[in-house]
């Protein structure tokens, strides 16, 4: 047997191709992105058609119980919020069987969102941005509007599609991501509603506010406070589904010019206590119960 005197030079390009992977990434990202968009569109159109036919109890079953990890122990404030939501729901003529469950999150970022199963989550930070029950009611009614219109169900498919692709890119397998996302659907805070859904929820909220308080005073309060305290940096709001707060403010103001100036209802005591030092910025033409009606300049 004769043995070689030297190792052969390995042939390149057989076991590993000399590629940066950039082309492959571009191709994969574009292809899957496109497929994802198509799937998301098909799913949301289908969901839009089917959602009204799905019994609300099914939606509740999918959502499951909301994990209480994020919910602070403020039973009184939560109860007050729940009572307010029930009152608003009654004025919003929700279909029978549809119930709103309000949750209070300890998050300091002002936010509120509706998820599957009629769950509405209000952050503690939001409470600091409202000075009256009317303003709080506007936000709650907006979220109730989403529940009534079945928006969480309608956006579930497209959101799940996006999240699977995103999870695959950032390092978990698509399947485990899908299971995780759908397994915790009740806490799905990433639901993004379309502009149309938002506008419809705003209109619903205004009508509920009028029915409940006889005026839409306070409707713009949260947005104005929010707008004044948090100028949104342009880079952070790419692809927003909500109109800019300022646009929205203008829309609400336009819709509310004819309201009679009435007394704003103060926040329920438990909520006010939790909110602490809310900024006193009542809506234009609205009066706080601590002010005199005659002091209003219009």
């Amino acid at each position: 047997m004769t043995l070689p005197t030297g190792n052969p030079r390995p042939r390149e390009g057989i076991n590993a191709s000399e590629t940066s992977g950039l082309g492959e990434f571009a191709l994969l990202a574009t292809g899957l992105g496109l497929a994802g968009v198509i799937l998301a569109v098909v799913l949301s159109v289908a969901a839009g058609l089917v959602a009204p036919l799905i019994p609300f109890s099914w939606e509740q079953a999918v959502a499951g119980p909301i994990a209480t990890a994020d919910i602070p122990a403020h039973p009184k404030a939560r109860k007050a919020l729940q009572q307010l939501a029930n009152r608003l729901a009654a004025h919003g003529s929700l279909p029978p069987g549809m119930a709103i469950r309000v949750h209070l999150s300890s998050d300091e970022h002002p936010n509120a969102f509706a998820t599957l199963g009629g769950n509405v989550i209000v952050t503690r930070g939001l409470l600091k941005h409202v000075s009256s029950e009317n303003a709080l009611a506007m936000v709650l009614a907006h979220e109730i509007g989403h529940v009534k219109h079945r928006d969480p169900l309608r956006t579930l498919g497209s959101v799940a599609t996006f999240q699977v692709i995103w999870a695959a890119m950032t390092g978990s397998s698509g399947q485990s991501a899908a299971t995780r996302i759908l397994g915790s659907a009740g806490l799905m805070t990433q639901l993004k509603f379309s502009r149309d859904m938002e506008a419809a929820a705003d209109r619903f909220a205004l009508s509920v506010l009028r029915k409940t308080y006889g005026s839409d005073c306070g409707a713009d309060e949260f947005f104005r406070n929010f707008h004044e305290r948090h100028k949104q940096p342009a880079w952070s709001v790419f692809a927003r589904t909500h109109p800019l707060t300022s646009d929205r403010l203008a829309m609400i103001r336009k819709a509310t010019v004819h309201h009679p100036p009435v007394m704003l209802t103060p926040l329920p005591p438990a909520v006010a206590k939790l909110a602490k030092e809310p900024e006193r910025l009542p809506g234009v033409g609205c009066v706080h119960s601590t002010q005199k009606l005659s002091s209003v300049r219009q």
């Binding site: 047997m1 043995l3 070689p4 005197t5 030297g6 190792n7 030079r9 390995p10 076991n15 590993a16 191709s17 000399e18 590629t19 940066s20 992977g21 950039l22 492959e24 990434f25 994969l28 990202a29 292809g31 899957l32 936010n111 509120a112 969102f113 939001l126 936000v139 907006h142 979220e143 699977v164 692709i165 695959a168 890119m169 950032t170 390092g171 978990s172 397998s173 698509g174 805070t189 639901l191 993004k192 509603f193 929010f226 949104q232 880079w235 952070s236 709001v237 790419f238 692809a239 927003r240 589904t241 909500h242 707060t245």
Partner: protein, 156 residues
């Protein structure tokens, strides 16, 4: 409500992708350059996968030599592989990683063999294992181990 789409995770993702791509690519190019140079350098230490040592080497000293290397995968490669996982196919970005690992491991075997004044290495074998990150993290490293029997002529 959900007033803004929070862009922070996406910005972080893009930054990691750029860092992963730039440094991963640099490291890979440098590594391949070094691999090719050293392969030429150690060309005379012959690697033979056979288990049977031919008769003419029976009086040689046989000693175990091993070379082991751990290579980290970069963020960019993981992202490409993640997308590839959805539809199947060759994961070229990982193939080059393993190719580098195997060749580097062989080079370390040869380096050790030379230190023993060996002229050849018999019965070369490979082992590959994944060294994964903690928990759910998919920041893998891969270990490639090559080992064999170095044959060095007896001096006496």
């Amino acid at each position: 409500m959900t007033e803004f789409v929070n862009l922070t995770p996406y910005v972080i993702f893009i930054a990691l992708m750029i860092v992963g791509f730039v440094f991963g690519r640099l490291a890979e190019k440098r590594h391949y350059k070094s691999i090719r140079r050293r392969e030429d350098e150690y060309r005379d230490i012959v690697i033979i996968p056979s288990r049977q040592v031919p008769r003419q080497f029976h009086h040689y000293d046989g000693r175990m030599v091993q070379g082991s290397v751990v290579i980290a995968v970069d963020y960019f490669k993981v992202a490409v592989a993640g997308l590839r996982n959805l539809i199947g196919g060759r994961i070229a970005s990982f193939e080059s990683l393993l190719d580098r690992g195997r060749r580097e491991a062989v080079l370390r075997v040869q380096e050790e063999a030379r230190a023993l004044d060996a002229t050849m290495v018999f019965n070369l074998k490979f082992e590959t294992s994944r060294i994964s990150g903690h928990g759910r993290s998919k920041r893998w490293s891969v270990e490639v181990l090559a080992y064999g029997t170095a044959l060095s002529p007896r001096n006496a």
